[in-house]
């Protein structure tokens, strides 16, 4: 995490109570509430993860923030601009790439980039330099003559990423950027995302179903479910917030004495012979207390291991 992270909490994204209902069928009778008062604050220059099960409202929220969708109520600003009233100003400074993105079938990578570069107002030598730089950066050079439809999934996603960097965005939305990619391509893409934040100070908001990716990349994570943000914080904060707890696995001699479960901070106890798993609220505080108590009871601790919960467990718990 960069040094300036805590001292400069200027918000790149500030969304308050966003709601969105999609209507379909005759006279819009069928309704689907996609967002039900979602609020989100994203500090400038951070990588922010938006996690949640399918249909939770991640893409809807990103689309509203990207000015592609109008909210029914609530407000949102990107870099201080209102997403409804000042969409034009936002679009100059924002971009988006998605894992299932697509471009016009007959265009080659350079032509796709030139087209969108032109829409951002780039022209002449400046456009050519930008396109060449992105083609090289995203390793698309050998496929310069290949039409979009003939590119592999990985190459299409690299092109989507290149397109998203055309206007040197201050805020970048990545909607499942590594979806369906080979592990090596995913690793390179994650490195590129981290580099963008480090070198350009870009605020990146990404949705992903890969918890390791979120844990590796994101400074902060929000968990969305049924159109509401249920929790927001760093991965460690989230783990603490939902109180899954850390697990201390002990091998005791003799087996677990009575009274261990009555100690403060122990959430759950599971004994299997001489092995015992204690789920505790905070391992730093509880481990010394447990060891001291066991010593006082005359119990010998033959082995002790600590397991911190994975973000995946947090996800499962919150999605329940």
């Amino acid at each position: 995490m960069p040094a300036w992270y805590d001292c400069r909490r200027m918000l790149a994204v500030d969304a308050k109570d966003l709601t969105k209902t999609f209507r379909s069928g005759w006279f819009g009778r069928r309704r689907k509430e996609a967002l039900r008062g979602a609020s989100l604050q994203v500090p400038s220059g951070t990588i922010f993860g938006l996690l949640g099960p399918n249909g939770a409202g991640k893409t809807t929220l990103l689309s509203i923030l990207a000015t592609l969708l109008l909210p029914d109520s609530g407000s949102a600003t990107i870099l201080g601009h209102d997403v409804v009233r000042e969409a034009g100003a936002i679009r100059r400074r924002l971009n988006m790439a998605s894992g299932n993105g697509s471009f016009v079938w007959s265009l080659r990578p350079g032509e796709v980039l030139s087209f969108y570069g032109g829409l951002y107002g780039l022209s002449g030598r400046r456009l050519r330099m930008k396109v060449d730089q992105l083609i090289e950066q995203c390793e698309l050079g050998p496929y310069a003559k290949t039409e979009y439809n003939a590119l592999s999934t990985g190459l299409k996603q690299r092109l989507a990423m290149a397109k998203a960097l055309l206007n040197d965005p201050e805020v970048l939305f990545l909607d499942e950027p590594t979806l369906g990619l080979d592990p090596d391509v995913s690793i390179r893409l994650r490195a590129q995302i981290a580099l963008l934040r480090r070198e350009r100070g870009t605020t990146i908001i990404l949705t992903t179903h890969y918890m390791r990716e979120a844990e590796e990349l994101c400074d902060e994570i929000a968990f969305i479910k049924a159109g509401r943000i249920l929790a927001q914080g760093t991965a460690d904060e989230l783990k603490r917030q939902i109180r899954i707890g850390d697990v201390i696995s002990l091998r005791l001699d003799p087996a677990a004495p009575r009274g261990l479960g009555d100690l403060p901070g122990i959430l759950q106890l599971q004994a299997r012979g001489e092995h015992i798993d204690c789920t505790v609220d905070a391992v730093d505080k509880r481990l010394p207390e447990i060891l001291r108590w066991l010593y006082e009871q005359g119990v010998l601790v033959r082995d002790c291991q600590v397991h911190e919960p994975e973000l995946e467990e947090v996800f499962v718990e919150l999605a329940r």
């Binding site: 209507r23 400038s44 679009r91 100059r92 993105g101 697509s102 007959s106 570069g117 829409l119 022209s123």
Partner: protein, 278 residues
């Protein structure tokens, strides 16, 4: 307090008239590339107009029409093909993105309707003029039809009128597609035929029923066809046909722009803009 992103120097393109040209040119260039790479463009440009000119020309032979009546029919044939091809290019500004499910990328950029409409329309004008030239050559060679018979000024105004009508139809097609999604795709081909039916394409509007004549009077192409045919010695159906035609065109361009702007706002509200990208 500055944000971390502010510490990085970002070179932004200033909003000038040149940037307006660049954005417009981007759409034009895309249409040109697509026209070069896709075989259906060849059919649009050469096959269908060629078939239309030959079949209608042969029909005039079969009916033993004189040169004046042949001109009446073939002017309609040319108008239909020119407007059809030119308006398709305007519609392609949206249709390419719908077919490739890439609609959202376009609307993520700071563009306006003017850029997509004018950029695509310019290519449409080039293709429309090409279609006209091809049909003029076939008509002249096979049926002895003189396309400049009404005078070069009249011909230029007629072509300009046809191209402006294409812009209007193309913008309305884009609006329909953004309102109703892929279900409205066929309007790209149907809209022209519907319009020309009322505008007296192969017949004077006086043969239409009364209510249809009222509709015809609201279509600019009606006036352009009438004015062009006057140059071949036909009696005028409307006074000041050129003036009325271009005045109506100006009104419809404004209306079509408003309709498309409203359709975009509505599709941002309903989520159709996103659905067209999935």
């Amino acid at each position: 307090m500055s944000s971390p992103a502010d510490l990085v120097l970002r070179e932004r393109v200033p909003e000038t008239w040149f940037v307006e040209v660049v954005r417009t040119w981007a759409f034009a260039r895309r249409n040109v590339i697509m026209a070069r790479r896709n075989v259906f463009f060849v059919f649009e440009l050469a096959f269908w107009p060629g078939v239309a000119m030959l079949s209608h020309g042969l029909l005039t032979r079969f009916l033993a029409l004189d040169a004046k009546m042949t001109a009446f029919i073939l002017i309609g044939t040319v108008a239909l093909s020119t407007v059809q091809v030119c308006q398709l290019d305007v519609a392609y500004a949206v249709l390419f993105d719908i077919w490739s499910k890439s609609m959202k990328h376009q609307f993520l950029t700071p563009i306006g309707i003017r850029h997509m409409a004018v950029g695509s329309w310019l290519v449409g004008v080039a293709r429309g003029v090409t279609v006209f030239a091809l049909m003029a050559v076939i008509g002249s060679w096979a049926f002895g039809f003189d396309f400049v018979g009404g005078g070069p000024g009249s011909l230029a105004l007629f072509l300009l009128g046809c191209c402006l009508c294409s812009l209007i139809i193309g913008l309305f097609v884009c609006s329909l597609v953004l309102l109703f999604g892929t279900r409205a795709e066929t309007s790209a081909w149907a809209a022209v035929n519907f319009t020309v039916m009322f505008s007296g394409i192969y017949y004077p509007v006086s043969v239409l029923p009364g209510w249809a004549q009222v509709v015809a009077a609201g279509i600019p192409l009606t006036y352009f066809l009438d004015a062009c045919r006057q140059g071949y010695g036909f009696e005028a159906q409307f006074t000041h046909a050129w003036l009325k035609g271009f005045a109506l065109t100006g009104l419809y361009v404004v209306l079509a722009h408003w309709a498309l702007a409203s359709a975009i706002t509505r599709s941002r509200g309903t989520g159709l803009l996103l659905k067209l990208s999935e």
